[in-house]
């Protein structure tokens, strides 16, 4: 077997050296009822590299690949062009096959990268500090709600109806078991956000208000007034960013007073990957740093006075504090954080702003074209690269008809909110730099046909 270097002679010599007559002696502590005599029945035996590659390639061909035609899906996962050097660099064995940097003297590559990543995320979000990553945006969002509870010692979180429904589901799941109170609901098909209403709903029991920016319908709004209302009431404002490219064009949540900013970093460097692995971004004001979940990398010096980096403030974490830790997270999303960081380095501020502007311009062009289709209207007053169309009929079957015509035409709100008929005609459409003018024209023409 190609991954196993021990030879039969090695095994015999090593068994003899440890005083075992056979391999079974080393499994003597396994109870008799659980001992198997041979390979587990009902499973195939080993296969060559060629055979495995052939099998997996056959499965790969059974999906419609995003890049093979017009593609307009977003709703929390965005298709951007990732420069070739990103994937090359993350496959350097020294990054790919390293562990969490527990021995900093021989992990400065990972640690310096994490320090740079934290700095990039903090600046992108307009906050003081960021951690070394979470699993994804949805789990980062829940961790932020828990963190707000720890800081405020209050248990009621107000969720904007514009929060991604999966993020809301994750929060609901957890709140069921932790006893937190969530005030939430579905969005309505209106051009504006519900943030003014949220400001009025804050009370003395409110730990935090959670808003998404841009929100699930693509709407953007100024959160400064909401931040002031939170501050006045002793609650925290948590902003969730699922499309970080937007922050090359629109104000960062931290600039508008958000206390905790979390997000999904997938759009930068990581790729679609059918939903994972992604990279959760987590940032906050520096006064809350000791309540943060997850790993933090910090600067220090070595015994010779040279600058170096280590994992720090570990007394928050499970391997030290056990049941008193701020979170149970251990392994996070280091390699995806590296991909994010490399792509952000390639872009730089100038490139990020340009990329964001192209996305916005392309999305505006698409919105204009699609809103010309008879019966279709554009919901949003303002948006970045994703907007909501209101169709004259339910969007779900339309999506399938479009797919038959080779067009992946967005995410129907019916899929995201299956129980809410009032949203059934909504279609969330994302337009990135990967979409061409021909794609937009093909989508508009196909939509017109399907709706006719």
């Amino acid at each position: 077997m190609r991954y196993l270097p021990l030879t039969p002679d090695d095994r015999a010599a090593m068994l003899a050296a440890v005083g075992a007559a056979s391999i079974d002696d080393l499994f003597a502590d396994v109870p008799a009822e659980a001992r198997l005599s041979g390979p587990i029945p009902g499973l195939p035996m080993h296969a060559s590299e060629l055979a495995v590659e052939r099998h997996m390639a056959a499965l790969s061909r059974q999906s419609r690949v995003a890049g093979d035609g017009p593609f307009f899906l977003g709703a929390g996962a965005y298709r951007h062009h990732v420069p070739a050097s990103v994937d090359h660099l993350i496959q350097r064995g020294e990054f790919l096959t390293a562990y969490t940097p527990y021995q900093p003297e021989i992990a400065q590559g990972t640690l310096q990268m994490l320090f740079e990543f934290q700095s990039q995320v903090a600046r992108l979000f307009g906050t003081d500090v960021a951690n070394a990553s979470m699993y994804d945006g949805s789990t980062a969002c829940w961790e932020a709600i828990v963190m707000a509870r720890r800081i405020t010692r209050r248990g009621k979180a107000l969720l904007s109806t514009g929060l991604h429904p999966h993020y809301r589901s994750v929060a609901r799941t957890m709140a069921t078991y932790t006893g937190d109170t969530l005030v939430d609901g579905d969005p309505t098909l209106e051009p504006g956000t519900d943030w003014a209403a949220l400001s009025r709903a804050i009370d003395k029991d409110t730990s935090c208000v959670v808003v998404q920016y841009p929100d699930i319908l693509g709407r953007i709004d100024d959160m400064s007034a909401l931040a002031e209302a939170c501050q006045a009431a002793g609650a925290l404002l948590i902003a969730v960013v699922t499309e970080p490219v937007a922050l090359g064009l629109i104000k960062a949540p931290g600039e508008m007073g958000a206390d905790i900013v979390v997000g999904e970093g997938q759009a930068i460097g990581v790729g679609l990957q059918f939903g994972g692995p992604y990279v959760g971004l987590f940032a906050c004001k520096s006064k809350y740093v000791r309540q943060m979940p997850g790993r933090l990398c910090g600067e220090t010096v070595d015994a010779n006075g040279k600058r170096g980096f280590v994992l720090t403030l570990s007394t928050r974490e499970q391997h030290i504090r056990r049941e008193k830790a701020t979170s149970n997270i251990c392994t996070n999303s280091g390699l995806c954080a590296l991909a994010f960081s490399i792509h952000m380095t390639l872009l730089g501020e100038a490139g990020l702003r340009r990329l964001a502007a192209i996305n916005h311009q392309r999305a505006k062009a698409a919105a204009t074209e699609l809103a010309k289709v008879p019966g279709v209207s554009l919901l949003n007053a303002a948006f970045f690269n994703e907007f909501t169309l209101v169709l004259p009929t339910e969007a779900r079957p339309v999506i399938h008809r479009l797919a038959e015509k080779g067009i992946l035409g967005g995410v129907s709100l019916g899929r995201l909110y299956p129980d809410n008929d009032a949203l059934a005609n909504g279609l969330a459409v994302a337009v990135t730099e990967t979409v061409t003018e021909d794609d937009i024209a093909a989508f508009a023409a196909a939509l017109k046909e399907v709706l006719a």
Partner: protein, 513 residues
Amino acid sequence: MTALNPAGWRPEMNAGGADDSTTFTGNRALMLEEPLLFEIGSTETTGVDFDEDVAAADLGPLARSAPIGLPGLSESETVRHYTRLSRQNYAIDLGLFPLGSCTMKHNPRLNEKVARMPGFADVHPLQPQETVQGAYAVIHELAEWLVTLTGMHAVAMSPKAGAHGELCGVLCIKAALAARGEDRRVLLVPESAHGTNPATAAFAGFTVEDIPANAEGRVDLAALEERLGPDVAGVMITNPNTCGLFERDLKAISDAVHAAGGYIYCDGANFNAIVGRVRPGDLGVDAMHINLHKTFSTPHGGGGPGSGPVVLSAALAPFAPLPFVTKDGDRFRLIEEENAGEAHPDSFGRMTAFHGQMGMFTRALAYILSHGADGLKQVSEDAVINANYVLRSLEDVLEAPFAASGPCMHEALFSDKGLAEGFSTLDIAKGLIDEGYHPMTVYFPLVVHGAMLIEPTETESKAVLDQFIGALRSIALRAKNGDPALKSAPHFAPRARLDETLAARKPVLRWEG
């Protein structure tokens, strides 16, 4: 014991510390210093070309007008920056990485190739189901392997890592208890458990109580039985445990816990020791997470991403999270919120957006198919042979507290007993760095003083282990003899020992320039 490179550096050659000669650049030939991105980049520089010009956006007050402060580099500079950084890392590709409980085995490159196939890498999680049948097929095929290899009833694929899997299992237990109308608050967790176990239990609202261990390093069955009662929701147990021993009484423990109305959560971090040879389902386990980034060789990536599918017993399967993939005839179907009402009404809900770690599923499946049932059995056997070989080759020079408890499984545990005054496990770890190894897991499990937990894995040859054993033997002797040079190791790493106290006392967590 002959070292592979007997002509190379040996500790006694340079006991006084690193050569203090300096260079103009601070570099030492192939050991290259690299500044921070923020010291070499510029906000005006970009390494990406765009095809078009754009008009100014009309976003009014929402426009981001203030400087962001994100430095950019050209592509050539970017490649060099990260390549230079990479060379300051140790990695499994460079040598033995014997971190106990972490299963740092070889990461086959076929798996990387497969994960990048466009039908897996360039598909969106919310595409219409008829357009992603191949992606669902991968999830379903891997799920069937995991269920069969563990002898369990079902598997929840969406958890993002081991600790997330623990949370999944514990929430299944909570949901099952709620369905029975019971509010049991206590989870029993051994002191030797990974820190994630008590942290997970607490995160889910349970009270954590310790289970005592017996003298041989296993759970004390009698003490456990004594503690069971109507307030105990279950037990979180690691098998093989973190002392590297198989929990001989696990079936008896399961029977006792089940009889008392509780459930067994098994931490599957150490599944590599028994994969293909023992099915946890045969031992009465109700839920166990599987770290695909350990047993099934998906790369650790310097701290993730992981993937932690949770196999479940028939008792807990109805409560598994959404979404998941089922097969109807020759078509695959996703069960999510809109159809869960009929298909899976008792689910405790969603743990994450989307389907879990698809990129890890493809890698793990390629690895499993490569090994097959016969190869996986050989994996666990070779992992156990290698660990026992390390244990028995070093027990005369390092104290092995459970050497008399029988064979170890996939990892060998030593303590710091017998080292010279003032010398610690940390010194041995740093000495190993100078010898070209990543150190073992240190100071864990907590039940052993100055613990050193060594997991060689099955992908190391006998020659590599012989050299490692020789190196560790020499370092252990230096620690026993009080060699002062060991106190300042490492001498040959990119950095000497780092001041962790300073880092925590005055945290600098971002570039301030």
